[in-house]
């Protein structure tokens, strides 16, 4: 029997590899959606509970959105091209200038009472963490870097910014508004 097992070892190993790849692919399909039905939030912060934050943000998801996917920038190690397709970004002040050309200008009226990251008089980011004022939006889900301000930005190429860039829907704005209400 042992000889038989050894003679067929390649079959057992092959099947194990096929199983891992096949089911990983199927599970990815189960929890994926086309760009138009998905809002992706990337957080450039020390830690984020992506699953819990995604579940929370999906509670009031706009019509047509199947998935809200929250992940850290570390994920881009595995999907560098995908990180450019995010809709919402949480970025600390130290990196904001670097990524600024990728962000969309914000219509201040959509976020009354918010403080903004500005460049040339135009609002680009919303303050979500400020060590001085003690502000830390969604601190249950997101661990911010200590002593550094953090902002919420929108990808200028997002397909969910409504009239800001002539997108079909404004789901990213609605989900950002939901995020800003989180404790």
């Amino acid at each position: 029997m042992i000889k038989g097992l050894l003679r067929n070892l390649h079959r057992y190993v092959f099947w194990a590899l096929i199983s891992v790849m096949l089911w990983a692919w199927i599970f990815t399909l189960l929890f994926s959606a086309p760009e138009k039905n998905k809002v992706v939030l990337y957080a450039d912060v020390p830690a984020v509970d992506g699953t819990a934050l995604s579940i929370e943000l999906e509670k009031d998801r706009p019509k047509g959105i199947r998935i809200v996917d929250a992940k850290t920038f570390n994920s881009m190690l595995f999907e560098q091209h995908a990180v450019l397709k995010g809709d919402i970004y949480l970025v600390p002040e130290s990196d904001a200038e670097t990524y600024l050309p990728s962000f969309a200008p914000i219509d201040r009226a959509a976020f009354p009472g918010a403080a903004f990251y500005e460049s040339d008089g135009q609002a680009y980011g919303i303050v979500i963490c400020d060590g001085q004022t003690g502000l830390a939006v969604g601190a249950r889900y997101v661990t911010y870097a200590e002593g550094e301000r953090c902002f919420l930005f929108f990808n200028k190429d997002s397909k969910h910014l409504g009239t800001w860039n002539d997108s079909a829907d404004d789901a990213a704005i609605v989900i950002a508004q939901h995020f800003l209400e989180l404790q």
Partner: protein, 163 residues
Amino acid sequence: MKHCELYNKEALLSMHAKKKRAGIAMLAVAAAGLAACVVLCLLTTRTNYGTMLWATVGTSIVSGWIVIFLSHAVFEVAKTGERHMKMVEEGERKTVGGRFEKTNEVRYIRHGVTLRRVRLTSGERETMLVLYEPYAKKVPETFSGEAEIVNDFIVAYEVNGDD
């Protein structure tokens, strides 16, 4: 003289039944494994995603391994055995005589078919024949007499009275 047939119709039928049973068992395990994986997929939520993925992969691997085991340890052995028996049944028999001596040389052909070599000494001439290993115990270690062969396989033998 004692005549002994090594192969019979019942052995062929039992080999066929064994092959059929193994095939059914393989299908049943594969279907059960697949059904379990589908159920696990349906029970997957965002919170249990990781656990369910590994549970599904584990279920798939184990059920697949059982199918592979049944395939090489039972199904293919029975299939090759059945083919071998049919070959023997349909083949043309020749009779050879002399002194037969079972060797310790056991050869694995494939899919679990093993053969034992038998040395036939007839006068000065030495020939090598083979025995289907599962039937090797039915044949004495050495004997003088005659044997019926099909493609060098001993299918029946007769021991001389003085042996």
